[in-house]
């Protein structure tokens, strides 16, 4: 069903590739490395040409480039907890015991995190001949069960509370803001943006727990829902 489709990007391509049953031509940047930062390097010419040809030949190109900025920001609780008012949904819960940050300043932080990877999307846009669709990263979970303490970071040197995720609403707003940043970028570069599947979220907008792989990525089932949405969008 997805013959001739290409899926390019970072870790979120894994679930989509598996969900397609191997039909997708998956270009995973965890395999090819940080190509965008060295796009013109002569050493990378063979890799670049191969990638360019695959993207150019894709009947449909799905981008899952980047997608971790909100997670980086909210995966664990900062020692100075913060919150913000999301302008697109200002009535979302706000914890007034936390430091209130200007929305636009948080947006700048997310852009700082997202842009180094997202710039690759404009390169892909220049290569693709078929429809190019960029997918939103999976929504956050309401309740994070995955213990981050397995990462052995010396606590005295880390300002985050490694055993405590950021509460759900600030995390949710970080994800929404990240999605807005991505969508803006897509609009600026003529790329179609696709939100996370509605069927993948609960009543409050959080990812259904059964679709969560590791607190950050969607399962193969989530990948199937995304592919279904892409089909419908096309």
């Amino acid at each position: 069903m997805d013959d001739g489709w290409v899926c390019i990007g970072h870790s979120h391509v894994g679930a989509l590739g598996q969900a397609s049953g191997g039909a997708l031509d998956v270009i995973n940047f965890w395999d090819v490395g940080d190509l965008w930062a060295h796009w013109d390097a002569e050493l990378l010419r063979p890799l670049r040409e191969d990638l360019a040809a695959r993207v150019a030949n894709g009947r449909v190109v799905i981008s899952a480039i980047g997608g971790s900025a909100h997670f980086v920001l909210g995966m664990v609780e900062h020692v100075q907890p913060f919150d913000f008012v999301l302008s697109s949904d200002p009535d979302l819960p706000l914890d007034e015991t936390r430091q209130l940050l200007p929305l636009d300043a948080v947006r700048e932080t997310i852009k700082d995190l997202a842009m180094p990877l997202l710039r690759g999307l404009s390169v892909v846009a220049g290569l693709a001949n078929g429809p190019l669709i960029h997918i939103a990263p999976p929504p956050p979970l309401a309740v994070v069960l995955h213990a981050r303490t397995k990462f052995e970071f010396p606590r005295e040197h880390f300002i985050g509370k490694t055993d405590m995720p950021t509460p759900k609403w600030p995390r949710y707003k970080m994800w929404r803001l990240h999605c807005e940043v991505i969508e803006d970028y897509c609009n600026q570069h003529g790329v179609r943006y696709l939100d996370a599947p509605r069927s993948a979220v609960d009543d409050e907008g959080f990812l259904r727990p059964d679709l969560d792989a590791d607190g950050m990525h969607g399962t193969i089932e989530y990948g199937k829902l995304v592919l279904d949405d892409i089909w419908r969008a096309l």
């Binding site: 970072h10 965890w30 920001l73 200002p90 209130l100 929305l103 300043a105 792989a213």
Partner: protein, 352 residues
């Protein structure tokens, strides 16, 4: 009996004080009656020149108050663009003594300006710090919550400071015809819309400036009896004048008024005048402390001022005892690494 000038000290005579030492050695401070110690909590406010003072004191490890600090996830550029870290709270530049008094009264609920928000393109701007956020506030909720927290931070600053450094910058201001509220910038310049029915120009006199500073000191000491005050006058000329005369004439008039007011107020107990204005504008400097635009101060000029500030206003052992600079927050870098680990695992082995 000898006449009084016969006993004048070298710093009191022009020739010895101004012509017999290198320009960079001119020292109009001479001495000070008190100094800042390592345990002091220094608040800074005023016109743009005050930023230099805060930056240098902070760099030296002295206790510069910041009661409304940037969150450490913000980059330096973002923090600065959003008005963090420039002064001791996020109030932006306070050019006039009237603004300072008004800020105090607003913080303590003693004055509530009638025109206290401007709307433009669906965004809200704070008339009393219109440039504090590059594009204003995107929602009323953020605007109102931020103001409440901002004014709480201002109160904390006034109450926690043991030394308050204020740099007087201007006498010309724009104010509301409704209730006399003054704005840091003319409505319409950074935000808002100028309306001659609601806004008027006012050039504060020496007496008004003295009264405003006096009023501020009285009210400040109600909440913080022990605070000491250092007054300076900004040597930065006016960017433009609203008086129908040459901008340089307005600059000299404005600086003269501020200098007179600072002189008068520095006679009050616990108030010191620090002559940064004199250092920069001294004939000995021959204008070399001004950049090519003849307004901004060169790094050498700031160096000269701050060298004297440290020499005369800071206790010698304050610097030796200054706490080490804060360790940079690497939260985002480390979180990124943690996310990368998860991403690498997920890309290799997606979960069914």
């Amino acid at each position: 009996m000898k006449h009084p000038y016969a006993m004048a000290l070298p710093h009191q005579r022009w020739r010895s004080a101004m012509t017999r030492c290198a320009p960079g050695e001119i020292d109009p401070v001479v001495s000070s009656s008190w100094r800042i110690s390592a345990s002091d909590r220094i608040a800074t406010a005023g016109s743009c020149f005050a930023q230099h003072v805060a930056r240098r004191l902070r760099a030296a490890g002295l206790g510069v108050l910041d009661t409304e600090p940037a969150h450490s996830i913000l980059s330096e550029a973002t923090a600065e663009a959003f008005g963090y870290g420039l002064y001791s709270a996020r109030f932006g530049s306070l050019y006039t003594a009237r603004q300072l008094l008004q800020l105090f009264r607003r913080a303590y609920g003693r004055f509530a300006p009638m025109e206290d928000e401007w709307e433009e393109d669906g965004r809200l701007y704070d008339p009393f710090r219109p440039a504090i956020q590059p594009r204003g506030f995107p929602t009323r909720k953020e605007f109102e919550l931020d103001r409440v927290r901002h004014l709480a931070a201002v109160r904390e600053m006034f109450e926690a400071a043991s030394v308050f450094v204020f740099t007087l910058g201007l006498t010309e201001c724009w104010r509301s015809r409704l209730d006399g509220a003054v704005y840091p910038l003319c409505p319409g310049v950074a935000a808002g819309e100028f309306d001659p029915d609601r806004h008027e120009f006012h050039n504060l006199s020496a007496q008004e400036t003295i009264d405003d500073l006096d009023g501020f000191l009285v009210e400040l000491r109600e909440v913080n009896p022990g605070v000491r005050v250092i007054l300076t006058v900004s040597p930065v000329p006016l960017a433009a004048t609203a008086e129908p005369r040459h901008v340089w004439t307005s600059t000299t008039a404005s600086k003269a008024v501020l200098r007179v007011a600072a002189e008068e107020i520095s006679r009050r107990p616990g108030v010191t005048y620090f002559p940064s204005y004199e250092v920069i504008t001294s004939p000995a400097a021959r204008g070399a402390y001004y950049q090519d635009d003849l307004r901004e101060i060169t790094a050498e000029g700031v160096d000269h001022v701050m060298r004297l500030f440290f020499k005369h206003m800071i206790e010698e052992d304050a610097l030796a005892n200054a706490p080490p600079p804060e360790v940079k927050d690497d939260f985002l870098e480390r979180s990124q690494k943690m996310a990368d680990v998860l991403c690498e695992e997920a890309s290799l082995d997606p979960v069914d």
